[in-house]
């Protein structure tokens, strides 16, 4: 009887191991292309005692440099950003973050307030698949799914990606066990420059009111921050596209004032932050390049340090040692990117596309 049961248990363990191994193989690795899909998972391997945590879409992970915040102000920060991160995803990431640590400040970029309903599975996955299984993840999945998606496909990604077996790429095997480090506390570095040459027209909208569902989650974020005695700071990153309407800005200004929150629209502060769209963007105004992100971080870091009296940790040897290592990696990548730029004219080894003339 015991032998039979032992065989059954071993069979089940073997079957589960096989399924998990196949799952690991077939899920997208987001390493050689669309690297942004790897951002969310990088948080779990970190020391979780940050002063500041950024949450939001590409406007946080491409526009702020935690290394600059450390070097100039001794602020320990992390960016929990992902592509087209919707506000309910930001809320649940915030909820999950607070299970690991209680930062002094949480910074949220408000662009996602323009979305009031689930948008796109491919983007959903870049936020949700990187999260560890938890109630926060499950609730985030439920809030994010489009009509034809199923929760089971997120909990067991093998159900969604099993047919990739015939399309497996070299990166699926290369990064089967480990992924290389490519981000800097959630910051995605790009040193190249593509100046803004023209501005998009602001199309008139039928309705400028930000959606009720979006507000619901903003209110939940505000409450969660208050319950945990955390300062919630709202920002709008200085990017010219997608368009940020003045009508939206007024609504956020009002919300911040009513709830006693700081709101900074960096689109109105480009001069103070030393952002020049001829030099400080790598994609014509959608995201800042490294110089732009460093300039903005210097400006914002001073505001954060002064307003919230954040501790300067640079004199703490243990912490300094950890951040020195991060800085070394940061500068080595910066050097490697400039090498590519000088040799090839674009960031060939960092996923950039060769520039084409229109």
């Amino acid at each position: 009887m015991l032998k039979k049961n032992l065989i059954r248990i071993l069979s089940i363990v073997l079957l589960i191991t096989i399924l998990l191994s196949i799952q690991r193989l077939v899920v997208p690795k987001y390493m050689d292309d669309i690297v942004e899909g790897s951002l969310i998972e990088t948080y779990y391997g970190e020391e979780k005692d940050h002063d500041v945590v950024f949450i939001g879409d590409c406007e946080v992970y491409e526009n702020f440099s935690p290394i600059t915040l450390w070097e100039d102000f001794g602020i320990k920060s992390f960016i929990r950003g992902s592509a087209q991160q919707l506000i309910w995803q930001s809320y649940y990431l915030m909820e999950e973050t607070l299970k690991y640590e209680k930062p002094e400040v949480i910074v949220f970029n408000v662009l996602s307030m323009k979305y009031n309903e689930p948008q796109n599975e491919a983007y959903n996955r870049m936020t949700l698949d990187g999260m560890k299984l938890s109630m926060s993840k499950i609730k985030s999945i439920q809030a994010s799914m489009t009509d034809d998606e199923k929760i089971i496909d997120y909990i067991f990604p093998i159900l969604r990606f099993h047919s990739r077996w015939s399309k497996l790429e070299a990166q699926d095997f290369k990064y089967y066990f480990n992924k290389e480090k490519i981000f800097h506390n959630g910051y995605y570095m790009r040193v190249d420059t593509k100046p803004v040459e023209s501005f998009p027209r602001k199309k008139p909208l039928a309705d400028y009111r930000l959606g009720e569902n979006a507000y619901h989650y903003l209110e939940k974020m505000t409450e969660l921050a208050k319950e945990n005695d955390i300062e919630l700071v709202l920002i709008k990153a200085p990017t010219i596209y997608p368009v940020w309407y003045d009508e939206w800005d007024i609504q956020i200004e009002n919300y911040a004032a009513e709830n006693d929150l700081m709101y900074l629209n960096f689109l109105d502060l480009t001069e103070e932050a030393n952002i020049d769209f001829r030099k400080h963007t790598y994609d014509g105004g959608l995201h800042l390049n490294l110089q732009g992100a460093e300039n903005l971080s210097k400006y914002f870091g001073k505001i954060l340090a002064d307003t919230y009296d954040l501790t300067d940790h640079r004199s703490n040897n243990n912490t300094a040692e950890i951040w020195d290592e991060k800085s070394d990696f940061y500068y080595s990548m910066k050097e490697a990117q400039y090498f590519d730029l000088n040799k090839y004219g674009y960031l060939k080894n960092f996923g950039a596309k060769k520039p084409t003339n229109n």
Binding site: M1, K4, N5, R8, I9, S11, I12, L15, I16, L19, P28, Y30, D33, I34, E36, G37, D57, C58, A83, Q84, L111, K114, Y115, Q119, N120, E121, A122, Y123, R125, M126, I158, L159, R160, F161, H162, S163, R164, W165, K167, E197, S198, F199, P200, R201, K203, P204, L205, A206, D207, Y241, P242, D283, G284, G285, L286, K353, N358
Partner: protein
Amino acid sequence: MGILRTLAQKNQRTIKNGGIMLKKITVFLLITLMFIMLIGCNDESVDNNETDPQESNVTETEVIESYTYTYNDTKIEINSKAEPILDDLGEEISYFESESCAFPGLDKVYTYPGLEIQTYEKDGIDHILSVNILDDTIGTNKGIRLFDSSSKVIETYGENYEENTGQYIYKKGETKLSFLIKDDEVIAIEYAAIVKEEN
């Protein structure tokens, strides 16, 4: 002795129940595995690439109606390939392009006198996403121009429209013609593919 016997019986029941449970789990896992293998043979739609909203509705034999706008004798069909249309239109007044977050491909905006055309990239080829009328020097194919009244729009295009906060939307297949009305005047006209907005 009595206590020992009771314990032994209890243990046997537990082992028996455990055995049944293990059997159930094994059967469940085997069924799951078979299910995965089965649907793996049929499902071609799984990919981590950006979902194309049109893809699922188009087959080779099916003819789908769509809006086509005519500008200076050039027919601009929504969702059709952009290159021949742009060649036909000649040089634009201005051009703007933007990448999408993370995914490859550019959204491009071409401006001509009174007109703006936006494209999207599908399988490496640009397609027409939208045509916007920018001023009242030109109108729709049926003659509606900016600043016309809402009643004129309804007289011309009929009552088969959806209204969404001041926007009158006439759908045709996977395309739409929208009139944005403010203070009873048309303030924007757009022919477009029906898609959800992305940043």
